[in-house]
Subunit: 442 residues, 2 copies
């Protein structure tokens, strides 16, 4: 308390402590959200430590000398989160180093014939032309997508070998050492990536598409409960969480494209064969985004129109619209959930599950009802909503078709007939009532 | 002709030639689409050749020795298409190298006290812990967005210095050389990027947002001409080019985010000050995508319903709907074009230009007309289309508000009063008639 300054440092310390605690919580959450992130960090540490021993072990060091450092560099830049990304980068790096090394040695041979003064000029010209041409090739979309990293490494290695050739006597040895150490680095990365908690880009893509289907289903379930449920009318919809759930689907294109790109590099793994139809996930993803886009339009209508059902609406019509909307949204939601489950389990989705058919029927039904002489003044807003909902039903049908196509191409297994298969399927409206368990004594 | 095999090589050659020609055309088109790509390729070649001379020039080489190669590496990986990206990578690389170098030398000092057998173990432990921790930090979104490359370089340099410290006698010299050569490489990249045909990420973002507004306008113009025009009804809409034009807007999030990220690194340039409100472009971009999303829903309705106007519709109603849709789409299209022009010219958009107001009025008007006892059966499909169009009008109003906000934040200039300002604005329907040129003699 003396001099009156002691409260300041203590409050300062506590505010710094609070901030540190908040950051620690955030960091902890990142790890808890996906523990594989922690595993990946350990993998990088492990691979780095492993490759460092090449430097510490005297016999290996004597073989490679200072070049052993390339192995360390390779590990840092090549080891990625998924196996596919690591494979893509590793192969790009190894092959680009090989080609650039050969060309670099060739460039040296040519330049060496130009005399001592001419050599740097010829080398500079080679570096300029190949550097510019390679850089331009990165603007070609097909090269950009799959070989961007390889082109960078090509320019890097070529410049390195060509430029060094002016100073280094044993150029072939340098090129050979760089190639070997890069190969060792790539091998360590691949071993770590493949064998220590592997994360497969293909599997991630598979899960991402399935979880996007679930998000679309959640949106429709929220819609059913909050907008068309008996008690839910007349509420302000803004800020409801279900109105946000489709947004991440809308923005999933970049992740899907990059996972697809890496999945193509991956060998057979788990339940995914060599010729797994990864392309089909892209098509399905586009349909998911199309569906999410319709949802986005629906959100605008729902949040703008506070009173979806006009007060002077005929109660019969009002009830008809409400039940149709309930059927459309719940049917599509169930269909999407089933499709997602089928993808996750890699089983053929049940074509006769009837949820899509039921919501299509509800949609046609509503259309007929609305066409039967209802005055538009009664239903303007809800009509717009029901039209958009009908469109979402249409999208769901397309999604179902695409999942069936995926099941066919990827040879998903048919669902094994279980005991209940002989029993007449339970109709939707009975689901909430008590079910009787049927046990069959074999 | 002898042996009958000569036709094969000739047809083979011509098919190879055809393919080569096709590829050459594609490559040429990439250059023609944006000649700055060619300029960028030359810049990379130039910077590489410039940095190579550090290797050829004996006095500099004597100063840096083999480390001079780091300057070449830096140029290859740091020189990017835009100034912002180059600055971001260059500063990340320089600062990360500095921090990691200091820590690496510190780690060596600690490890050196553990005796000859303990040293590699202690060093390995350091590399493991820092490697794992840094890798984990890359999962933190805020770090990932701005410092991902810096973290990679940090791990790289730290491992390099720490591991090398076991073999290299003159560690301080190594760290110093690496830092200096990286700094030289970064300086060459920045000089090339700033002074040779600079491409500014901020300006690209500015243009991208403006061109997205134009695309939205083109969609609405196409809609007006092809769907609501007098002659255009009853056509099959699928495959019409205007139905595709909004799609690239839908998928522009990734480009906008990355350009925004780089724009923040850029200093004052051209018409863009230090505190240009780049964040506002992100908000405007989100609204553009929202609008494009409504267009996507509209496309489904337009392509599904072959006969937007039912034959048994009252001609008056039919004409009313048609003209309202024309007014809504043309008004919004004009508003969007004007907003885009205002952004490009960096002038305050005219708040009283009236196009948004006109389309809002048309939308309200149609709503009133449809509420006035029209039977829904007459207009189901077109009603859905007009509702969605009304929503697009609403989005356009939001976009106009966001552009006005941008103009305010970025202090766009007011439009200079021109000669015609005193003349009563020409009404929209008069635009197609002959205009009288008014010249005022000063």
């Amino acid at each position: 308390m003396e001099l009156g300054i002691s409260p300041w440092p203590s409050s300062f310390c506590s505010s710094v402590l609070d901030k540190l605690k908040a950051s620690a919580r955030k960091v902890r959450k990142i790890g808890e959200d996906d523990p594989r992130r922690i595993a990946h960090s350990f993998k990088v540490g492990l691979a780095l430590t492993a490759v460092s021993f090449f430097y510490y072990a005297t016999p290996i060091y004597d073989g490679f000398g200072v070049s052993a450092i390339w192995a360390v560099m390779t590990v840092v830049v090549v080891l990625e989160y998924t196996v596919g990304a690591t494979l893509s980068k590793g192969l790009n790096r190894a092959v680009a180093t090989l080609i650039a090394g050969v060309l670099g040695v060739g460039a040296h041979e040519v330049a060496a014939r130009s005399g001592e003064r001419g050599e740097p000029i010829v080398l500079g010209l080679f570096v300029f032309v190949l550097g510019a041409a390679s850089t331009f090739s990165r603007f070609v979309p097909a090269i950009k997508a799959r070989y961007d990293y390889g082109v960078t490494i090509f320019i890097l290695t070529f410049s390195l070998v060509a430029v060094s050739s002016f100073r280094v006597e044993e150029l072939l040895q340098l090129a050979h050492q760089r190639l070997s150490t890069v190969a060792i680095g790539v091998a360590i990365c691949l071993a770590t990536s493949f064998f220590v908690f592997p994360v497969w880009a293909g599997e991630e893509l598979h899960k991402l598409v399935a979880s996007n289907l679930e998000k679309l289903a959640s949106f429709l379930e929220g819609l059913e409960a909050e907008c068309f449920g008996e008690k839910a009318r007349q509420q302000n919809m803004e800020g409801k969480p279900f109105l946000q759930v489709h947004k991440s689907v809308l923005n999933s294109k970049a992740s899907e494209d990059s996972l697809l790109n890496f999945a193509k590099w991956e060998p057979r793994h788990g339940r995914f064969g060599c010729h797994h139809p990864w392309k089909q996930y892209q098509k399905l993803g586009a349909l998911n985004r199309h569906c999410a886009s319709s949802m986005e339009s629906l959100v605008s209508f729902i949040t703008t129109f506070r009173e979806p059902m006009s007060k002077n609406t005929d109660p019969d019509i009002s009830e008809k619209i409400r039940t149709s909307c309930v059927e459309m949204s719940s049917g599509s939601a169930k269909a999407l959930r089933e499709l997602s489950t089928a993808i996750r389990a890699m089983t053929v989705p049940h074509p006769a599950n009837g949820h899509v058919a039921a919501s299509l029927a509800a949609s046609a039904d509503l259309r007929r009802a609305l066409s039967g002489g209802v005055a538009l003044s009664e239903v303007t807003d809800i009509a717009a909503i029901s039209f958009l909902l009908a469109e979402i039903v249409g999208r769901t049908e397309e999604i179902a078709g695409s999942v069936e196509e995926l099941a066919r191409l990827a040879m998903f297994k048919p669902v094994e007939p279980d005991c209940g298969s002989a029993v007449k399927p339970v109709a939707d409206d009975e689901e909430t009532t008590t079910r009787v368990a049927i046990t069959i004594d074999r």
